[in-house]
Symmetry: C2
Subunit: 203 residues, 2 copies
């Protein structure tokens, strides 16, 4: 799931970079996209080691991840940045938690390693804050956009959970019980709220 | 010119990766695209060191490079691969030659470093050869495509040469005289023929 996520994340972020108002900003998003492929390579090597063909292993996740990106194609530069910061942020938090449940240490380490580099978080935050300061009327629309991103992410995650028993079992076993799962989601939501606050988009 | 070339090369190759018939092949071209941004970062750092704003320094090359890519958008996976192998091949040969004329060793080394990784050349050659073996009738069309790539590359290079005196002066001074320039172009053409032969597309 993570491998296909990097592959399509690369594709979409590369396209979103075109929304940048200038070449300097475009390059920042393009570098973020390029990082996805470095991560893809690490994941593909591990899948190979495990005797799994990356293509076959990724196939079941293509549809939900395509659906997520199809429903959340940014129309503006700021929407693209928020998607990279807020959308990838919540996905990374989820993968980081689930990685802890993996039996092999090599896999736990690998997942931590391929989560998005935070070096561009400050850039996204500064860009969005500056835009909101300049024109406070955009805040409401951008906050709605972020909410839509999270809604789509959860909706596709639920779809994956329903179809992929192995993943669901991992999360359930790792969390301990239904309370544990509830707490996991509470942590995801609280980290999301912190990001929205950093962007100046919280209510 | 090289910096803008990596930026737009990334953008186009990322889009061309979608033409791949499967995820494994798509990932190969996506990784090649991602490499462009690693190179962009190195070039941007050097431009900064030289006191040049990357955006301003790249601006004069945007139009000819966009024109090249606009005129050579691949319609098929094989056209995309040939563009990556043949088009980038001839551009790299040119940059490699010109780099030798640069006064600073740091710049000569940097240019050599950011030229396209050859690790994927074997992949492109194997893919195209296999396709031609399976259906020899595609060879003529693909050879024409390669010729068009080279024609467009030379035509945009001429435009850059006409507009950018500093680059022309560098090539003229480095080559020594008109015979030297003729020999440089002979070397470019001969390396191009070798690549066409490797693809099984030479006459």
């Amino acid at each position: 799931m993570l491998a296909y996520g990097t592959l399509i994340g690369f594709d979409r972020m590369a396209a979103d970079a075109r929304l940048a108002p200038d070449l300097r900003r475009r390059a920042v998003l393009a570098v973020m996209a390029a990082d996805e492929m470095r991560n893809y390579e690490l994941l593909a090597v591990r899948l190979d080691e495990l005797g799994a063909d990356p293509e076959t292993a990724m196939a079941p996740f293509a549809e939900p991840l395509e659906a997520f990106h199809g429903a959340t194609a940014p129309r503006t530069w700021l929407e693209g940045l928020i998607k990279a910061y807020v959308g990838d942020g919540i996905a990374d938090d989820f993968y980081r938690e689930v990685a802890e449940f993996l039996p092999e240490e090599a896999d736990r380490t690998l997942v931590q390693q391929v989560l998005h580099d935070t070096r561009h978080a400050d850039f996204a935050v500064a860009e969005v804050r500056a835009a909101v300061e300049e024109d406070p009327s955009v805040a409401g629309r951008l906050a709605l956009w972020a909410r839509r991103l999270v809604g789509e992410a959860f909706s596709q995650a639920q779809r994956v959970a329903a179809e992929r028993e192995a993943l669901t079992d991992l999360v359930v076993a790792g969390s301990g019980d239904i309370t544990g799962i509830g707490e996991l989601f509470k942590r995801l939501t609280s980290a999301h709220s912190a990001r929205m606050k950093a962007l100046g988009l919280s209510n």
